[in-house]
């Protein structure tokens, strides 16, 4: 039998941890709980989790600081942030500071389980996750995380800000089925009337820029009736 993944759940609201823990346990995960930042850091080294779920808004040390300290200490455990303010700046920051994913409160607990599975599948033990890389490369495409610029075969791409946000999310979540709703949430941060072409037009914009063929995609694949998937293999590269 495969070893059960260990999850460290960090939130200062005990009502949240107490109700989320059984859900995660039922999903076949081993759960440890921390109620504040210092405790989270301590348990991150003692418990040795495979993934940390981290609330951003906590008294004393907030989730962002916990994440920063983990990464500074060379701890590359994947992190899913629970965002609260939910504004676009905070979401962008979450990915920039090396979180693997984020979820806006209040969320569907089953969605959290799905995200945990996806992040664990993507994780490369001991190695920095894609989300912490300064530069991501896939075939002819390279993306600079800090300056938010993208190049195709050395030529800089002109993209709208929303398409750039989308591209960054796709690149940091390769080989994962991303529903339209999820991508809208990435771009907008809130639910949007589904069935609209708001994501489709952004994806079309990206495909045009990447010279990608929707029928035989080398970057973005359409998953009929469900959403999209980034199919290229993404590597990390230190910015030079």
């Amino acid at each position: 039998m495969e070893k059960k993944p260990k999850i460290l759940l960090v939130d200062d609201e005990s009502a949240i941890t107490a109700n989320l823990a059984p859900i995660l346990e039922r999903a076949g995960l081993v759960v440890a709980v921390a109620g504040e930042g210092e405790e989270a850091l301590q348990k991150a080294s003692e418990f040795g989790p495979d993934l940390v779920i981290l609330d951003i808004l906590m008294p004393k040390m907030d989730g962002r600081e916990v994440l920063r300290r983990l990464r500074r200490g060379g701890n590359w455990t994947p992190v899913i942030l629970l965002t609260q303010v939910g504004d676009s700046v905070e979401r962008a920051m979450a990915l920039e500071e090396g979180a693997d994913d984020y979820l806006n409160k209040p969320f569907d607990p089953h969605e959290l389980v799905a995200r945990i599975r996806a992040v664990l599948r993507r994780a490369r033990p001991g190695q920095p996750p894609l989300a912490t890389a300064a530069r991501l490369v896939c075939k002819d495409l390279s993306f600079d995380r800090r300056s938010k610029r993208a190049w195709l075969s050395g030529e800089e791409l002109t993209l709208t800000p929303k398409a750039l946000v989308l591209l960054e999310y796709l690149l940091t979540h390769p080989d994962e089925l991303l529903t339209r709703e999820r991508l809208l949430d990435v771009v907008w941060g809130w639910d949007y009337p589904v069935g609209t072409r708001a994501t489709d037009t952004r994806v079309a914009e990206l495909r045009r820029a990447l010279k990608d063929d929707a029928i035989k995609p080398s970057y973005i694949e359409t998953v009929s009736g469900q959403g999209y998937r980034f199919v290229g293999e993404v590597r990390t590269q230190e910015a030079g």
Binding site: I16, T160, K162, T196
Partner: protein, 302 residues
């Protein structure tokens, strides 16, 4: 602007006083001395004109600053309201997260039929509160982020909103129409954020369908009016009483007749916010028992 003005006012006064003093000293004073000798009356006229001019400038400056003060108060009030809504949203999020997780746990246990029913009703109400939280966030987000403008094909946008509305289960048995001109030319393009404009139109259609009984008519129209592009969503629904018309764009306001109809009173507030960001105007005309028409007026590019 608002911050600079209070500094400008005293500076302006000092400059004016200095100028007057210099003028008096160099020009008017010698003149004055001569004229006093020659004609005291004339000198008084010159002085009068001077003071009149001085007071006029002073009065103008004062009225400007008073107007600014009023605008400032209005702005401040809107800001307080926005902050309040944002805090309310924050306070909703944590309990909602815990409740949703708790309900998911409860759903896994063995429940009697009665308990199962109660659970599903609580689940539905929790989702409703989650939607409220999400809508509050939309409003706050709109204030915080710059518009991403590009040329928007309005005709196509209206067609899409229309198609989406027709797919709604509630749209059945209601006559949904879309009228856009083809002659002498199609609708002009406008500069704006297509996603947001789409959301505004979608919200209006959604409202129209909600407040119109089966058998009623809903018309969406797009047309040009001078340099403006006008989008109208009209319905033969229940209408809004006259005394409530002024409030319908306010956050969380729900008209008396809206109680019992799903919604949270943020839809139209969001429309207002989006259209204002685009430099446009929203107006609502309604007759109780007859219907409602919401008009969006947006600047078009020729």
């Amino acid at each position: 602007m608002r911050k600079i003005r209070p500094i400008i006012v005293p500076i302006l006064i000092i400059v004016l006083v200095l100028l007057t003093a210099i003028l008096l000293w160099s020009r008017v004073l010698p003149d004055l001395l001569i004229t006093i000798r020659m004609d005291l009356g004339n000198a008084l006229v010159i002085l009068d004109v001077f003071f009149a001019f001085f007071w006029l400038v002073l009065a103008l400056v004062q009225s400007r600053s008073r107007q600014d003060a009023i605008e400032g108060v209005i702005y401040e009030a809107a800001d307080v309201k926005r902050r309040f809504l944002r805090r309310l949203d924050h306070e909703l999020k944590n309990p909602l997260t815990a409740i949703r997780a708790g309900l998911a746990n409860l759903a896994e246990t063995h429940l009697e039929e009665m308990q199962r029913q109660a659970l599903s009703s609580v689940e539905a109400q929790t989702l409703r509160l989650s939607r409220l939280s999400s809508d509050l966030r939309k409003l706050a987000e709109l204030e915080a982020r710059p518009l991403e403008r590009s040329a928007v094909n309005v005709n196509e946008m209206l067609q899409e909103a229309y198609a989406l509305a027709q797919d709604q289960p509630n749209a059945a048995y209601r006559d949904l129409k879309l009228t856009v001109p083809q002659a002498p030319w199609p609708l002009p393009t406008i500069q704006g954020d297509r996603d947001l404009l789409f959301l505004a139109v979608h919200n209006l259609l959604d409202n129209a369908i909600k407040f119109t009984q089966p058998g009623g008519t809903i018309e969406m129209r797009g047309f040009e009016d001078g340099s403006s592009l006008v989008i109208e969503v009209a319905d033969t629904g229940q209408g809004i009483p006259e005394d409530e018309l002024v409030h319908v764009g306010e956050e969380l306001y729900r008209a008396r007749g809206a109680r019992g109809i799903p919604g949270n009173g943020l839809g139209l507030a969001l429309v207002h916010s989006i259209i204002n960001l685009h430099g446009g105007k929203v107006s609502v005309r309604s007759r109780e028992g007859k219907g409602t028409v919401v008009t969006l007026k947006l600047p078009a590019i020729s």
